[in-house]
Symmetry: C2
Subunit: 326 residues, 2 copies
């Protein structure tokens, strides 16, 4: 962990008791002057750090900005996801950045955030609006030992992690709409885009893209999106602290990924089914050129949706666009 | 088509009759001096072109080198595969080159050859030896409208195209070993590596890597490979013209891809089954951590291998490593 992350972790751990410059200098193995310089740098980045002769340094507040060192400091013990974090002020798309990292053979677990994306994208090449500072736009690199057909397990697990993080951090209770929308009623607040590099029987890497509309006011959505889009702030009635939510999200992603690797997808699948608003409904699903209408019944062991058609046939659906059947 | 490709196509079309410098200059819309300069360039590249007052230019021989313009000139009408051709003298891996083209949003159909690869690779990250001038090492970019689960159709189709091209060009009759080896008896002469970039329900691009051991002498294979590796020259007893084989290969790839897009995979699947040496055998197949033993019975509509296990269960196999069961 780098010095800024260590300082922030110490300050958060000490709370109102504070931590002395001498103690920080010792744990970092640098001079007190060097600690002072780092503290000044953090203050310039928006951290409200008080220095007093009695208490040493105390952290009173953090900026509403994503800061890689601070996220690392907040995370605590994690297994894979969040081992390394990068934050861009602006980028084309965090998935593009992570794709490049994947090609450079970077290890799995790295998470890349951007305060804004100029070419954020959703599924099937659709545009994803990512206004600066108003959401969480991130991508995570994974190298799971899964057959390509089981990649749906990852989408399902990610949806569960996003729903959990929102619930823990805000108290709100979002639903999941097949395959990967996080919703309040009929309005979407977050989406997941999974891209993979694979051989026929072997996944080389997965890029997990997540976009959460956090602090966007209802009236800030374009007119045509208002019936189908919402944000956490719009639902909660107050702004949400993005760095805390980002931390909770990485922790929950790491937790579900650990379950998945342990072969416990069924547990996650069960939670997905409890949270899913699509199950039990009559739905129409478009997958490529095909349209399937029927009752969404359950998730299978690979994470595919089981839809019972009018003719009683059980279809295994991967991905697709869902609408409620009339 | 560029001037060199046009000149070579005219020369090949005219044969012994030859074609005059004036005619070439007219069809290219350039001066006779410019034609002469191009001819000189082609001679330096190894083309045996005679110039005579009576016959004009006549092509007597081509070098045993891959030449993008010449391949374009030889191809004749094609639909997709071979629309554009690049030839590298040496590269890390033609799949790497095409992956970069895929990211740059290049249209499907481009074929990239290398006379040698420094980091040629086979399936599952295995090394693929690609000695200079002794084989065909190429990759083709495709953007098929298929679900990832149907990508096996492409491997099956590619194996059929490679087998056909070898048969047409050499008279040899290679077999196909599941999933993608081209074999003579128990010895492999060609392999196929399919890599894909995908979303869950949607292929973004496929890189079709093909390696054919053409003019490698039996004694040139490392000792440990001799029982399992062979080349077309070793089988035919004489060297094989690589540019002709490359042309036949692109034509056959284009033909099967057209059938596939027309929804006629079953035809290709039937041909695959006729050529396959694995069907009817008792086999042991390793797919990731799983081992399946049983009788290889047929191909399903997605291109998966159907294996009947001892317990009578029918397993759908994608990829994997096959060995004959003891």
């Amino acid at each position: 962990m780098n010095p800024d992350a260590q300082i922030l972790r110490s300050l958060r751990g000490a709370g109102e008791a504070g931590v002395s410059g001498a103690a920080l200098a010792k744990s970092l193995g640098v001079s007190r002057a060097a600690v002072w310089a780092r503290i000044e740098e953090l203050r310039r980045a928006g951290y409200d750090i008080e220095a007093s002769p009695h208490h040493g340094y105390r952290l009173h507040g953090s900026p509403d900005r994503l800061h890689a060192d601070d996220l690392l400091a907040r995370l605590g013990p994690i297994k894979v996801i969040g081992r390394d974090i990068q934050v861009f002020n602006e980028t084309s798309s965090t998935n593009d950045i992570v794709e490049k990292l994947a090609r450079d053979l970077v290890a799995e677990g790295i998470a890349v955030f951007a305060e804004s994306q100029t070419k954020g994208r959703g599924r099937l090449g659709r545009r994803w609006s990512s206004p600066a500072g108003k959401g969480l736009w991130l991508s995570v690199l994974l190298r799971p030992n899964l057959a390509p057909a089981a990649a749906t397990q990852l989408t399902v697990s990610t949806a569960v992690a996003v729903a959990r993080a929102i619930e823990k951090n805000t108290g709100l209770q979002p639903g999941i709409k097949w395959p990967n929308d996080i919703v309040f009623g009929t309005r979407k607040c977050a989406g997941i885009l999974l891209e993979l590099g694979a051989e026929l029987d072997h996944i080389k890497h997965v890029i997990l893209g997540i976009g959460i509309d956090v602090n966007i006011l209802a009236e800030e959505f374009p007119e045509e999106l208002r019936p189908i889009a919402t944000s956490l702030q719009a639902e909660a009635g107050h702004p949400i602290d993005r760095p805390s939510l980002a931390t909770a999200l990485l922790q929950e992603l790491d937790a579900v990924y650990a379950r998945l690797r342990a072969g416990d997808f069924h547990e996650i699948g069960d939670e997905w089914m409890r949270r899913c608003t699509t199950l039990g409904q009559r739905v129409t699903i478009r997958v490529a050129d095909r349209v399937v209408t029927g009752r969404a019944e359950a998730l299978d062991e690979d994470g595919a949706l089981l839809v019972r058609t009018e003719h009683g046939r059980l279809e295994h659906i991967i991905g697709g666009d869902v609408s409620l059947a009339k």
